[in-house]
């Protein structure tokens, strides 16, 4: 990533090269570049395990919508492609799912996104009972955790752009 203004978070924030904040952003070029590398590792990893790239983009879109973060939701939606189920996952209203494993993944994503403090040991056990492997539990947790960061970074950058 040669240009921080091409990173997903800065793009979604609407900040551009000619904004007065460009100097402050350039001062943290390393961090914004590493943020994009973490984005790619969480959304499009070489070894996605039991969470496909389309499912990851859909869960991220769902999270952005739960956070009313439309700029990122549009970005993640564009990464889903033509996968029909993933398209449904991206809708936070899609909760009654026949597939037990997918239902558990959606429930956990929504819970950790919206009520982190309310998560208990039984919530992790519920994923295991629904057939989510321990590797996939960590992959899902990293995805939800990274996107939660990306959302707050984007919201903060956009607000800085509007107010400073």
């Amino acid at each position: 990533m040669s240009d921080i203004f091409d990173t997903a978070a800065v793009q979604a924030s609407g900040l551009s090269k000619d904004h007065a904040l460009a100097a402050a952003l350039s001062g943290r070029e390393d961090i914004l570049t590493m943020t994009q590398q973490a984005h790619d590792a969480a959304l499009t990893p070489d070894a996605p395990g039991g969470l496909s790239h389309a499912e990851r983009a859909a869960l991220a879109c769902r999270m952005a919508r739960l956070n009313s973060e439309e700029g990122l939701a549009v970005q993640f939606l564009a990464m889903i492609g033509s996968d029909t189920v993933a398209g449904q996952i991206a809708d936070p209203g899609f909760t009654s799912v026949a597939d037990t494993r997918l239902a558990a993944i959606l429930r956990h994503t929504d819970l950790v996104t919206q009520d982190t403090k309310g998560v208990v040991a039984g919530d992790i056990a519920a994923l295991t009972s629904a057939g989510v492997s321990e590797d996939d539990i960590v992959r899902l947790s990293e995805l939800v955790a990274f996107v939660s960061y990306q959302i707050r970074l984007t919201v903060g950058l956009r607000l800085m752009g509007e107010a400073l």
């Binding site: 973060e69 996104t113 040991a121 321990e134 960590v138 990293e142 707050r152």
Partner: protein, 193 residues
Amino acid sequence: MSDVLQDFTTKVPHWRPRVMPIKLEDATPDQLEALKVTPSNTKVSDYVLVLARDSETLRERTPLFNAIMYNRGGMSRAERELGAVGASVVNRCVYCAAVHASRYNVLTKDEAVMERIFADEGKTELDPRQQAIFDFSVKLSQTPPDVSKADMEGLKAAGLEADEILDLVLSSALFGWANRLMHTLGDPVENED
């Protein structure tokens, strides 16, 4: 379980995983690289051994975390710790709050701020600059984030420059990430060491 710590503390607890950590002797080359294991550094925490189950993300996360919390310039290290604590209080990550409150105390040699934050949990009265930093972190950590132009004006009025506000956004947002791993994948328990 009854031994899980529920109350905020500045004494760093032990972290007990809910997902089995990988065994170091079974780690793949990718996992070893992400774990930064070298012949002189073979001590790896259970937390990092759990995260090694997703080595691609762990590899990116560690240097990013260190850069946001420790890079030169911008907002002071202590104030970044204050941002980390604000998020950790919202998400009730007792472990993260303990680690970063204790770092704040070491950096500032002032224990009164964290005592007040842990006693009041977000309704704390601090000095104007600390208050603006803490309040912003608490608001950014809500779902959806609850920050407005007025909060940004508050940070400016408290004397924060643009580069410092950027560091506050980064350190607060980072704990939206860290809390969602630490608080969901394990439990803080009494440290018997």
